[in-house]
Symmetry: C2
């Protein structure tokens, strides 16, 4: 009989490793493992090494906590960026998403999480003191809070708002509303309601 | 400016490796790479090593070509299996699928491919001589051809049928028809037509 329905412990281990990743089930994991098995040996070693190197060698920007290969990230070390605006985000992925829009020229502050008592993350676990220091020491005019609108995100935004309100800095948050190209009928009621309340002037009469 | 929209060459490399896998796009690859980054170092090393070990140490059964950790696979080395039936399949995955049904107690012969001139695979590239030898030397009563019904699969089945017809062995192929639980209206016409032609007796009058 085949053990665990795989015929090889090595294959089973590879399938288990793949299926421990988010969004990858046992079937996809098996397909991926058998795909790798057909590749040349050097490709597999490169594949494995890419993740080991990433984990062992990657650095975090000493200013904004963004992932980087150097002491400072590409944004913080770019003199062309507007150092008077800091956009506070939860994750590295949020920075990459905003950078992809090519519409933001300020700096970032990556929290690496949000306040979530359920997950054991309190205010003290986030780099808030570092944000305050940047606001206090630098020439920061505006802090954009770009956190999610979940309960945890709102709690974190409110906490940061309270902490920052002692300093002469404008605090903003990203616009919420119906997405470009979205149908009104498929938009949730909260978003649609808020998009009407917060309507923008198109033409003054 | 961020290079290639990633902020780290190491991250970029990990994303590239992930997105080289079938069915994984750049967005999923980024999500997976950032997920791995949050794991403990030993998990990542175990992850990378699982694939390197799989590729370097895995063996193929000397009888049926199934993946195995030993000289013989779990099926071929099991005395409880019926050695008089050989089921010919294209891939390792096909064996795992049939094993999962727990309805087959014979042996297998994994071709590792099918005849496909477009991909440069000719009859000489498949372990057909090995199959003939098993039929000739052993006590084989039946060969089941369980290849796909694509042009390549049919060509391969016909080639094997010609090669095997010199030997006193029954040659069968798996039943094709409407799947259990499938709606007739969503079944393709070829399958539905064949399922009527090849109808089975339910009750003799």
């Amino acid at each position: 009989m085949l053990k665990q329905n795989y015929s090889s412990r090595l294959l089973e281990r590879a399938v288990e490793e793949f299926s421990s990743l988010p969004g990858i089930g046992k079937k996809s994991a098996l397909r991926l493992a058998l795909h790798l098995l057909k590749q040349p040996k050097e490709n597999i070693e490169r594949f494995g090494k890419a993740f080991i190197d990433l984990r062992n060698e990657v650095k975090y920007c000493s200013v904004c906590n963004m992932i980087t290969d150097d002491e400072l990230c590409a944004v913080c070390s770019d003199p062309g960026r507007d150092a008077s605006i800091i956009c506070v985000v939860e994750s590295i992925r949020d920075v990459l998403s905003i950078e992809n829009t090519e519409r933001y020229k300020g700096l970032y502050h990556v929290l690496g999480g949000i306040i979530s008592p359920m997950d054991g993350v309190g205010p003290g676990d986030l780099p808030v003191a570092e944000l305050i220091r940047r606001v206090k020491d630098g020439n920061v005019q505006e802090v954009i809070l770009a956190l999610s609108t979940s309960m945890e995100g709102d709690t974190t935004s409110f906490f940061l708002y309270k902490k920052l309100s002692d300093y002469p800095v404008k605090i903003t948050t990203i616009a919420r509303g119906v997405g470009f190209g979205d149908d009104l009928e498929y938009t949730d009621e909260l978003t649609l309601g808020k998009s009407i309340e917060n309507r923008q002037i198109f033409k003054l009469n």
